[in-house]
């Protein structure tokens, strides 16, 4: 009975195995069909010739060139044979290269044997028929043997018969002087340097943004952040109000600073003064010893002081940096890239300042209202908290959906405020209301997990867009060139690295975090003292790996106009100049291989 059962089992097993094998075969057969596999073409005569030509061109990268001298060796040839006496061959006793022919005249279609003597060993060149008017027709491509001798049978071409002598000519090109880098080699060098710097810039910017993002995208750090609905709703409202205030203040400040914009001296002095003020305020407000909580007055004073002096410093610093940079570009000549860097940094600061101010005010008002919400939730009776929740959550929901509505309006230009403002507002408001009604008044909401999920979703979405596609959009935005490539790669780097980093954060050991938290450290201190030391080696390793990828990607990104060596490569491939393209492929290979080596050395040092 047992045996029978076993037999049955093994039979079933072999049948299912057989079915699996057949299924696999069918799948692969279909794959052949879909991918149009056709090995017949690989042996096709014409295609083989083209392939050989391209491969040989690729094996001769266009890197060096010589100055060349041409030597023409002629014998006269009559087409057709003149009447009367046949002209005799010239005297050929010299040690110079010369050629002889079996016949010195003939009709079209006749075969003539041409021999060459005293040529440089192994030299190659064309054997042409030169008409009286000087038009060439290639008869053969000759190659001399080790003694400088060659022999070929050629056919007399069908050319207009004339009385005077035409010629058969062997042309020898010799290189003279030292090899020089070809134009293509120089262009390749320029572009490969550009490529490396695109990768460097993209990796640096990407890493700087990815590191803080990775903490938000790490589940183990976020899961403990919970707060009651009152606090969350208040915080959202606070953020929006704060950012609105911030943008109003920015508008006002930009008007205020307009006269300063014109005077370099004024803005420079202003920048120094505001930096001094900022430093003083920070020194006064940040004391190493935090055992006594600062008084409310001191807190307000230090936050206001930091905000005011910080904003003033940012704007004035940006403006003066920009002005100094712009003024120095011309006089410094070849070193102009240094002041240009200053100019661009100033530009970035001026550009980002409104955003920074808005975020600062958003964070400030948001956290203040969030604390008030927390207090309400902690100290008021549940029924009243519920009432507050209903109002606040409805407002917050309506505000969020109204912002979504504005986004929809921007993309689709509906132009109907009922659809893009009132309806989303009402939907958001009622969702908020629903949330407030269904949750227990003081229950902690998993805010950390919500932020984590949103961040993860955005990162995954961004990561799934290939850098090549991003580069196309960036090219439309900032124009063809390496800047577009850097932007696209930087964006992709943020998404990819933030994911890799956050997974590292998720895999660190929890013990040290627990220990540091137990000492009374707050969240920032916990990250710096317990998380950061654990993640430095993998972060360095991943960053190097990413640089590696970015170098490889930046060779491709030029195909769509993102600058770098890909631009040159695609151009040469389209021009069928495979020798030039070969030089660029070689450069890419060298750079990628050395990147690989360098990154492994650095990784070994740190990990």
């Amino acid at each position: 009975m047992e045996n029978n059962n076993n037999n049955n089992k093994s039979l079933k097993k072999s049948i299912s195995k057989g079915i699996l094998v057949v299924l696999g075969l069918i799948i692969f057969a279909y794959a052949f069909q879909v991918t149009a596999v056709d090995f017949g073409t690989t042996r096709d005569e014409v295609r083989m010739t083209s392939l050989t030509r391209v491969l040989r061109a690729l094996a001769h990268p266009d890197l060096v060139e010589y100055e060349t001298a041409e030597l023409d060796v002629d014998i006269p040839f009559y087409l057709p044979c003149p009447d009367g006496e046949t002209p005799s061959l010239p005297d050929n006793a010299s040690s110079e290269p010369y050629i002889t022919a079996s016949a010195i005249c003939g009709a079209a279609g006749e075969t003539v044997t041409v021999e060459g003597y005293n040529f440089p060993a192994y030299v190659q060149g064309p054997l042409n028929f030169i008409t009286a008017s000087g038009v060439k027709k290639q008869l053969e491509k000759f190659q001399a043997d080790e003694n400088g001798y060659f022999i070929y049978e050629v056919e007399v071409p069908n050319r207009q018969p004339v009385a005077e002598a035409q010629a058969i000519r062997a042309t020898v090109r010799t290189n003279i002087g030292a090899p020089m880098w070809s134009d293509n080699a120089i262009a390749t060098w320029d572009k490969i340097i550009e490529t490396i710097f695109i990768a460097l810039l993209a990796t640096t910017i990407g890493t700087l943004i990815a590191i803080p993002t990775s903490f938000i995208a790490a589940r183990n750090l976020m899961v403990e952040n919970t707060s009651p609905l009152t606090s969350v709703a208040f915080s959202i409202i606070g953020w929006l109000i704060g950012m609105w205030i911030g943008s109003q203040i920015t508008k006002w400040l930009l008007v205020l600073f307009t006269p300063i914009n014109e005077s370099l001296l004024f803005s420079l002095v202003g920048a120094i003064l505001s930096f001094g003020l900022l430093y003083a305020v920070l020194r006064w407000s940040i004391t190493a010893d935090d055992s006594e909580a600062p008084s409310l007055g001191k807190r307000i004073a230090s936050i206001t002081g930091t905000a005011l002096s910080g904003i003033a410093f940012l704007i004035l610093f940006g403006i003066s940096f920009r002005a100094i940079g712009a003024a120095l570009i011309e006089p410094l000549g070849a070193l102009g890239f240094l002041p240009n860097f200053m100019f661009q940094v100033g530009e970035i600061i001026v550009m980002l300042t409104p955003g920074i101010i808005a975020i600062f005010f958003g964070a400030f008002v948001g956290s203040m209202l969030s604390k008030i919400g927390q207090r309400i939730s902690d100290n008021m009776p549940a029924a009243q908290v519920k009432l507050v929740n209903i109002v606040a959550a409805s407002l917050a929901g309506a505000a969020i959906f109204a912002i979504f509505g504005a986004g929809v309006e921007w993309f689709y230009q509906i132009g109907n405020p009922v659809k893009t403002f009132y309806i989303p507002g009402a939907v958001g408001g009622s969702l908020g209301l629903l949330l407030a009604l269904t949750t227990t008044a003081k229950k902690a909401m998993p805010t950390g997990l919500i932020i984590y999920t949103i961040t993860r979703t955005i990162l995954n979405g961004t990561r799934s867009v290939e850098p090549l596609v991003m580069a196309i959009i960036a090219v439309i935005w900032v124009g063809i060139g390496p800047f577009a490539g850097s932007l696209a790669l930087a964006l992709h780097t943020v998404a990819a690295l933030a994911k890799l980093y956050s997974e590292q954060v998720e895999s660190i050991s929890a013990g040290p975090i627990e220990a540091v938290q137990a000492t009374g450290a707050n969240q920032i201190q916990t990250i710096i003292y317990a998380v950061v030391p654990q993640i430095i080696p993998p972060y360095i390793s991943f960053t190097m790996y990413r640089w590696d990828i970015n170098v490889r990607m930046s060779t491709i990104i030029g195909f769509v106009g993102g600058g770098g060596i890909g631009f040159l490569l695609s151009q040469n491939i389209n021009l069928l100049d495979y020798r030039a393209a070969s030089a660029q492929m070689l450069a890419i290979a060298v750079v990628v291989a050395s990147m690989d080596y360098i990154s492994s050395v650095i990784r070994e040092k740190f990990v």
Partner: protein, 250 residues
């Protein structure tokens, strides 16, 4: 100084890890918590400084209810409660000194963390604490280069940096050999006797409880089974705490 009232903790989807536990810790006491693995000892200790959020009951710390303290209040409570762990929980890639200094974080302005800066007096104290546990010369070594016993001493130094009123020690010697175990316990005893720091220590071995503890409480399946002097734990009590099949070792 510390009062636990009807404390309970239920993990999501799990059984009750702590079931209505109440006891009081007096100033200057050496109190041992005993019980089988999984009886709720670690959960109990972690509920006291809210590394784990209790689901019911109150923890009264010097007249203040810790269970509903705000973040700022929790910070001031936690910095007076030192903690020592079974697996030491040092940051292995950081230096011994940095590990000890991290005990000071509750007293340091969070903004200073960006500059990785501690005050001079903190650094001097850290060296003193290391000297006290006998590993002054290891200050600049990486924490993971130290042996287990040495690492636990760093853990004690870190807890002492907090200038604690109480130290929660979660199986401080369970991953050390018996000789080292006594040396670590003696350090804790010294801290208790000489500096008057209250010690709340969970322990596996009863002989350690007899030797070092003034009082013991016992947990079984999250319930309080015993509260009294270690000398009162006779064979009957022992079976009650550890189950009737248990046998005394050591």
């Amino acid at each position: 100084m510390l009062e636990i009232k009807n404390l309970s903790k239920k993990y999501e989807g799990g059984p009750l890890a702590l079931d209505d536990v109440s006891f009081e810790v007096k100033q200057g006491e050496f109190l041992a918590v005993i019980g089988l693995s999984g009886s709720g000892k670690s959960t109990l200790l972690r509920c006291i400084n809210r590394l784990i959020e209790p689901t019911g009951g109150d923890i009264i710390w010097n007249g203040m209810n810790v269970t509903n303290a705000s973040d700022d209040e929790l910070r001031t409570v936690r910095r007076k409660i030192g903690m020592v762990f079974q697996h030491f929980n040092l940051v292995s890639r950081s230096s011994v000194l940095t590990n000890v200094l991290s005990g000071r974080l509750g007293y340091t302005n969070p903004a200073m963390a960006f500059f990785n800066k501690f005050s001079k007096s903190d650094i001097d104290n850290a060296h003193k604490e290391l000297e006290r546990v006998g590993i002054a010369e290891k200050a600049h070594q990486r924490a993971d280069e130290l042996s287990g016993g040495q690492q636990q001493r760093v853990g004690i130094a870190r807890a002492m940096m907090q200038n604690p009123a109480i130290i929660l020690a979660d199986e401080p010697v369970a991953s050390l050999d018996p000789v080292l175990a006594h040396s670590i316990m003696q350090h804790l005893e010294k801290i208790n006797k000489e500096q008057g720091v209250t010690i709340l220590c969970s322990l596996h071995f009863l002989d350690l409880v007899h030797k070092y503890a003034d009082r013991a409480i016992a947990l079984n399946d999250g319930k309080m089974m015993f509260d009294g002097s270690p000398a009162e734990i006779d064979d009957a009590k022992f079976r009650e705490i550890y189950g009737k099949d248990a046998e005394r070792v050591g």
